[in-house]
Symmetry: C2
Subunit: 360 residues, 2 copies
């Protein structure tokens, strides 16, 4: 167990936004959310699963919606507490801790706010090791943990409890509700015991996010190359450098969907990289050839500062580096590929681990 | 208190479909639902509010969706029981009776099924005295009774509990959920005590529906004019007779929306009547002039048999009579007109009671 103070939150938000692969929430608004909660309620206990009892109930807390909306329609802080407390009451069992369901600039700091306000620990794990656009895309789904009962609340006071027959159904119905709520709702879901999480969750992701964030900060302080520092921290590959030439982005069916064109420079001169996204960066191709795909991670970083650039802030003219790196091994199984592989998203290509493409 | 037997159900379904003004469910599938439940579980007790205790909890049960869908995607009977039992458990209070939230061929027989299966009485009242397309359009809304907590279930086993800040929000979010469920969900909502209902509900609507249905049946048996018999029973006006010349119907945003053109014959020769509908018939105009509007009732009847024709079965060539008649007085108040008047639905016309137009 260790305590997370105000100064840890900035590192976590930045590192989580790197791993968020374009989604998972904006790191700046996420940072503010976490910081304000810690200023008001004091530091948050970050625990490992091993430090808790196997029977302890953990309920993840998160925002659900399109990043384009979430960055302008901020939660009011009451919504997520309403969501968690309603689910706890519905389950009739005391919640002992919260956690991130995905790693992201917002979805790693939302549970920090909840933990601070309710005085419960945050568990150092999540359900993706990155961010994905749809609710069923968590390792929990591969271990038989139900997304429901799930609660979804808005800032006005509307709240729903969902009980669905599959985690995919949770996504379908939950997504429509976020649209009615204005494009974003605050959710509590995937209630599980510590014992279940030891098997199903991705371990240590808060600490990993914090380490990546610290790396960016220190590299800048020491005037080192922050992109290269991140690349080393994630054990990845710099697959492209260039200038954003075009962004096609549409907020539709509850997601920010679109693509991003980058004109290469330096060693990538005269090449074009295209990234397709649905909240998160899903597939990258250079001159028409796929070079990295989900479930591997694709991050777009500001070339000078190493700051991760999320889907909703991409714009023409930004000078960026694109990193690609390996996902958690759980995603490389047949069940993982079925859940989040490129074909699920409609791309007619087999998953080739990025190490095979670039590690040679 | 009296018992409803198999033979009462056909009359109720037909009469309710007259009052359903095009919506509220198909009377034939509604009849089958009610009949099968009574065959299996025995007759249903129909009670007046006065025969119950003021503290007794009553939960209405209904289908929510587009008639075009509901007539093909039939409930499996488990869904509506799941909805009511889940709401009862959530409220933590025993349900003593169910009722119709609206009068309609399906929504008057769904609570008969529930009452039969659960062995609870059906209360002789509803929240509209007719059918309306949207959830908040009940007299309950004018008396401060909340639609939520509401449950909505589908035939697969998905179920949601809604808690919203207004009855209009219940409609907005609930409608999206019906769309995800395939265009129809089975709901329990507007939980209220008998004491509340004595003030807020429209009294005697099951009996009224049955009387109208019986009138149609007897007129046919006695070879009288069934349209004229219905007109007398509802104390209304035959505003048109003719042949359906065109039906524009689209199932969109969870509703069956469209309009209906009727070419007049007999005394209406060379005239055209147009009815606009959103699940229910909302406004009727002859040669471009409004002659009847919501909240007054507009019913389309088969000219020969007096059978009510619901939105989803309208088709070219049908020979029909159109009746218009007065709504319950509760709807003629400023609050009622705000909730269900023609301007709510986007028609730029003031409500003129049909008696003023035709009663002179």
């Amino acid at each position: 167990m260790r305590l997370l103070y105000e100064e840890n939150i900035a590192d976590i938000a930045i590192g989580a936004a790197v791993l968020g692969t374009g989604g998972g929430g904006n790191p700046y608004t996420g940072y503010l959310t976490g910081r304000e909660a810690i200023r008001k309620y004091g530091p948050v206990k970050l625990c490992s699963l091993d430090e808790m009892d196997d029977d302890d109930l953990v309920i993840p807390t998160a925002g659900m919606g399109a990043p384009t909306v979430s960055n302008e329609k901020l939660p009011n802080g009451i919504d997520i507490i309403n969501s968690l407390k309603t689910l706890e009451k519905y389950l009739g069992k005391e919640v002992k801790a919260t956690m991130s369901i995905e790693v992201g600039g917002g979805n790693s700091t939302t549970p920090i706010q909840v933990a601070a306000e309710l005085g419960i620990p945050l568990v150092d794990c999540d359900g993706m090791g990155r961010a994905y656009p749809e609710l069923q895309m968590v390792t929990h789904s591969m271990y038989g943990i139900s997304a429901t009962p799930m609660t979804i609340a808005d800032e006005r006071g509307n709240i729903l409890i969902l009980e669905t027959i599959s985690n995919k159904w949770t996504e379908v119905i939950g997504r429509s509700i976020t649209i009615d709520m204005g494009g974003r709702g605050m959710i509590a879901l995937y209630a599980a015991t510590v014992g279940q999480l030891k098997e199903a969750a991705i371990i240590g992701s808060m600490t990993l996010a914090e380490n990546i964030g610290r790396t960016v900060r220190l590299a800048r302080q020491q005037e080192e190359n922050p992109v290269e520092a991140v690349r080393k921290a994630v054990n990845g590959f710099t697959i492209f450098e260039g200038k954003i030439a075009d962004v096609n982005r549409k907020t539709t069916t509850g997601f920010a969907r679109g693509n991003l064109h980058i004109s290469g420079f330096g060693q990538f001169n005269h090449q074009e990289l295209v990234i397709n996204f649905q909240n998160e960066f899903l597939v990258a191709s250079i001159d028409g050839k796929f070079v990295a795909t989900t479930p591997d991670l694709i991050s777009v970083l500001d070339l000078e500062t190493g700051e991760p650039i999320t889907t909703e802030v991409l714009r023409y003219g930004m000078r960026v580096a694109v990193l690609a790196y390996s996902c958690d091994k759980k995603w490389q199984t047949p069940a993982g590929i079925e859940l989040v592989g490129p074909r699920y998203f409609g791309y007619d290509v087999d998953y080739v681990p990025v190490e095979e493409t670039y590690g040679g």
